[in-house]
Every structure is written in structure tokens, then in C-alpha cells.
């Protein structure tokens, strides 16, 4: 069992990133498998970011934003939710397991929930196994 999943996490600045920060400052232990990318709002997460993460070898992508109604920019997290639903449907058609993409709401005070979420997702990805996306997609470019 040498598989160590890599999970790319996009966290919004106002709630989720602060929540993750709280987990850190409270010295909570959680799986070291996530690579956090801070964005100003979950509504900023372009589908391109998610697809590129998968293409470049991420075993999972985690998106966290403010709880519904709490968005710093009013409606960014709803836009994120709609895009997430659409991309989920798309990646299912492309043969990517649904466990690999997850969206959760984390508030600034939910450090504990964040740590649990990361543990949970890491475990789920360990069960699905390494992503085959990168190896399949290394389009054997025929340029010689």
C-alpha cells in the first residue's frame, strides 16, 4: 500500500480557508494529502481549474465555500454549486469516478469539520485507488 493520494483543494478566502486555518492553529491532525489553493470566492472556481487538476494527475478535487446564504459576495457559492453539479455530470460521462470530486460548505468556525472532511475524502480516494486520468490522457503525441 504505497498509494498516497493527492487531493487539490480550492478553498474560498472568507469561510473555508479561514476554517482550514483554524484547524491548523488549533493543531488538529488531519491527512496530509491535500494541496490547498486559496481563491477569493468559490464562484471564482472555473471548470477549467478542476479539469486541469485532474489532467495533471490529481487523484481528487475538493471544493469548499461558505454555507448557502453566507457568501461574502452574496451568490458566488450558488454559482459554484450549479457548476459543480454540471461538471459532476460531465466527468461521469468521461469515466471519472464520482468520489474524486467533492463540494462541501465549511464556515470560518468549522476547523474540526474541515479536518474530518479531509480525512473522510482521503479515505474515500484510497478506496477508489489512484487516478488513471493522467496516464490515459498522456495522449501519446505522435510528434516524433
Amino acid at each position: 500500500m504505497n498509494f498516497r493520494p493527492t487531493i487539490v483543494a480550492f478553498l474560498c478566502n472568507w469561510c473555508a480557508y479561514t476554517g482550514a486555518d483554524l484547524a491548523g492553529t488549533s493543531r488538529m491532525r488531519y491527512a496530509p494529502n491535500i494541496r490547498i489553493i486559496r481563491v477569493m470566492c468559490s464562484g471564482r472556481i472555473d471548470p477549467t481549474f478542476i479539469l486541469t487538476a485532474f489532467q495533471q494527475g490529481a487523484d481528487g478535487v475538493l471544493i469548499c465555500g461558505c454555507h448557502p446564504g453566507d457568501c461574502h459576495y452574496q451568490t458566488g457559492n450558488y454559482k459554484c454549486l450549479r457548476r459543480f453539479k454540471l461538471i459532476s455530470k460531465y466527468i461521469a460521462q468521461m469515466g471519472i469516478e464520482p468520489e474524486r470530486l467533492k463540494l462541501e460548505w465549511i464556515s470560518a468556525s468549522e476547523g474540526k469539520q474541515f479536518a474530518e472532511l479531509v480525512n473522510e475524502m482521503t479515505k474515500a480516494i484510497l478506496n477508489v485507488g489512484p487516478s488513471k486520468i493522467k496516464s490515459t490522457l498522456e495522449v501519446k503525441h505522435l510528434k516524433s
Binding site: 472555473d46 485532474f54 454549486l81 450549479r82 453539479k85 454540471l86 460531465y90 490522457l137 495522449v139
Partner: protein, 329 residues
């Protein structure tokens, strides 16, 4: 009638070739109508399989860089396409990926939703009209008494031209609009300053919506998506605002918004605009802001009315998209 195009001396050498293509791109060259006479006045066609009888070995005998411009249409699907792409690359000064298939994979690129085994199984075992109890599959080699025959090998994936050889310019479209071909050809024939290598030419930087004449508001809200036959188009309101998916927001302008002008939603054959790399991602992003629902259940219901997002958003661009193909284990 005097020619509009100046005749360069010596005349340009022009080649047109097709890979995995339907022939429509070659017809778009003929669609220049009487201007075709100007083209042949300015250029000698040295290789054009749809119109001229010439063998591959004759092309291989050309000196390197002896063709001024090659318009390569069609995707790269088999070993024959690949070989000719390589031959034409070395024989041409300027290699143009002409049309959606050479540029992005096009309609043949939809085969990347399957792999070769699945396609062979369907075609040689399962189709309703197939009787093949011995499960015969095409072979790339066969020996007859006259000698060994070989046919091209079909690849597992469909490739864009740029994934196989270096490409100088891209002209999008399914097929490219003949007027835009003439513009590009005129630029080359007159020796005008050409854009940097790798540019998309014969198309705009901005999206189709930028040129579209239909009535649009800033606040698009969609409660349900309709397929075009499910709704009576009012012929003047933005298709998206009527709930019909139109690829306009994720598609480069340049065609003259021809489909929408003909009351049919844009399907995206001109590819993504300059500022976007992946048309489907761009479209998912745009639609995400239009869906008029906040609860997960209601969003699911609305998204459920988009029957086949992958096929719809990547109709012409699957091989060149970020994911490129379906993952089949």
C-alpha cells in the same frame, strides 16, 4: 474579367489534403465559386486528392519545403493520415490546420468517447446488419499470391493535426467560411505580414454572441433546458434565454453567426474564443450562472434536462479539450 488577386511570380504552390474528414472542407474551397479561378491564377494546385489524380509517391518525391501552403483538413485517425501529415509537414513552408477536425478533432473526434476495441466490437459484431460469426476483424496486413497488401492501422485515439506535427496556422469552422479562406489566401498571395506562428486565422478573437443580432438581456435565467425541437423559437430572442443551449458564449466568431441567422443554435464549430482554452469548461461556467435555482434538488432537475453535456459542449473539440478522451480502463 481581371483577377482581383495579384499574381505572385513565381506562382504559389498550393496543396489540399484530407485526413479523417467528410469532404466538406474541400467543398468549401470550391464554394469560393468564381474566385476559385483567381486562386488557380495565383497558385498552382500541386496536390488535391478530391480533384486531382496524383499518387502519394509523387508527393514524397517533391523537394522539401517546395509547397508554399498546405491546407490539411480532417483529424488524424489512422497511420495513413499520420504519414501524410508528416510528409506534408516536411514538404510545406506553411502548414494550415483547415477546419474543425484538423484544428480540434471535429466530429470524428467524438470517437474518443470510445476506444478502438469498443468501436470494432460495435461495427464488426453488434450492428443490426452485421453477420460475422467468425468475429473477423480488419487486419493491417494480408498476403495474397501477388504479394503482401497493407491497409492503414486505425489508432485507438483521434488526434488533432497539431498533436501529430507542428502546425503554422489554424482556420476553424465546419467547414470554414469560404470568404474567410479567401481573406487568408489573399494575405498569403499578396505577401502581407502574416500573424505569428500558431495563430488562429480567418476568425475573430471574440465570441459569436458579440456579433449575434438576437435580443439579449444581462440577466439570463433558465428554469428548464429545451432541445431545439421541443420549443417554438420566436426568431428574435437569444436562444439561451429561451432555454435552448447555444454554444455562442464559448465559440469564436467569424462564421457570421450563420446558424443563429438560420434560426438554429450555435454548435461551436469555430472553437473556443482566444481567451478560453476549453469550450466545454467555458460553457459549463456560463450555464452555471444562468440556472435559476439555488437548492441542490432543483438544480439537479434543471441539469437533468441537459441530456448529454459532454457530447453537446465538446461536439467539435473532444480531442483538443483538457480531458481529451473518455477514460476507459
Amino acid at each position: 474579367m481581371p483577377s482581383d488577386l495579384p499574381i505572385p511570380k513565381p506562382k504559389l504552390k498550393l496543396a489540399i489534403y484530407w485526413g479523417a474528414a467528410c469532404g466538406g472542407c474541400c467543398v468549401s474551397v470550391l464554394d469560393t465559386h468564381e474566385k476559385l479561378l483567381d486562386i488557380v491564377a495565383a497558385a498552382d494546385l500541386v496536390f488535391w486528392p478530391i480533384a486531382m489524380d496524383i499518387k502519394y509517391k509523387d508527393v514524397e518525391a517533391f523537394p522539401d519545403k517546395s509547397i508554399d501552403v498546405t491546407l490539411f483538413n480532417g483529424a488524424v485517425r489512422n497511420s495513413e493520415n499520420k504519414r501524410m501529415a508528416q510528409v506534408l509537414r516536411s514538404k510545406s513552408k506553411i502548414l494550415v490546420a483547415y477546419g474543425a477536425c484538423a484544428y480540434m478533432g471535429g466530429i470524428p473526434g467524438l470517437a474518443n468517447f470510445h476506444n478502438r476495441d469498443e468501436i470494432f466490437k460495435r461495427v464488426y459484431d453488434e450492428t443490426e446488419s452485421t453477420v460475422n460469426p467468425e468475429k473477423i476483424r480488419p487486419q493491417t496486413e494480408y498476403t495474397v499470391k501477388e504479394g503482401k497488401l497493407d491497409i492503414p492501422e486505425m489508432f485507438n485515439d483521434v488526434y488533432t493535426l497539431n498533436q501529430v506535427v507542428e502546425v503554422d496556422y489554424f482556420i476553424p469552422g465546419c467547414p470554414p467560411q469560404s470568404e474567410r479562406l479567401l481573406e487568408v489566401f489573399t494575405a498569403i498571395a499578396t505577401g502581407a505580414q502574416l500573424p505569428p506562428k500558431g495563430s488562429v486565422v480567418g476568425a475573430n478573437e471574440k465570441t459569436n454572441c458579440d456579433e449575434c443580432k438576437r435580443k439579449k438581456t444581462d440577466n439570463k435565467v433558465i428554469k428548464k433546458f429545451y432541445r431545439p425541437w421541443e420549443i417554438q423559437d420566436d426568431k428574435e430572442t437569444c436562444f439561451l434565454e429561451q432555454g435552448v443551449i447555444c454554444m455562442g458564449p464559448a465559440t469564436r466568431g467569424g462564421c457570421g453567426v450563420r446558424c443563429v441567422t438560420g434560426n438554429s443554435p450555435c454548435r461551436g464549430c469555430y472553437g473556443p474564443p482566444a481567451a478560453a482554452s476549453d469550450p466545454g469548461a467555458k460553457m459549463m461556467s456560463a450555464i452555471g450562472t444562468m440556472i435559476d435555482a439555488d437548492s441542490p434538488e432543483e438544480i439537479d432537475k434543471i441539469i437533468g434536462t441537459i441530456v448529454d453535456p459532454a457530447g453537446l459542449f465538446y461536439r467539435f473539440s473532444l480531442p483538443s479539450s483538457i480531458l481529451g478522451r473518455k477514460i476507459i480502463l
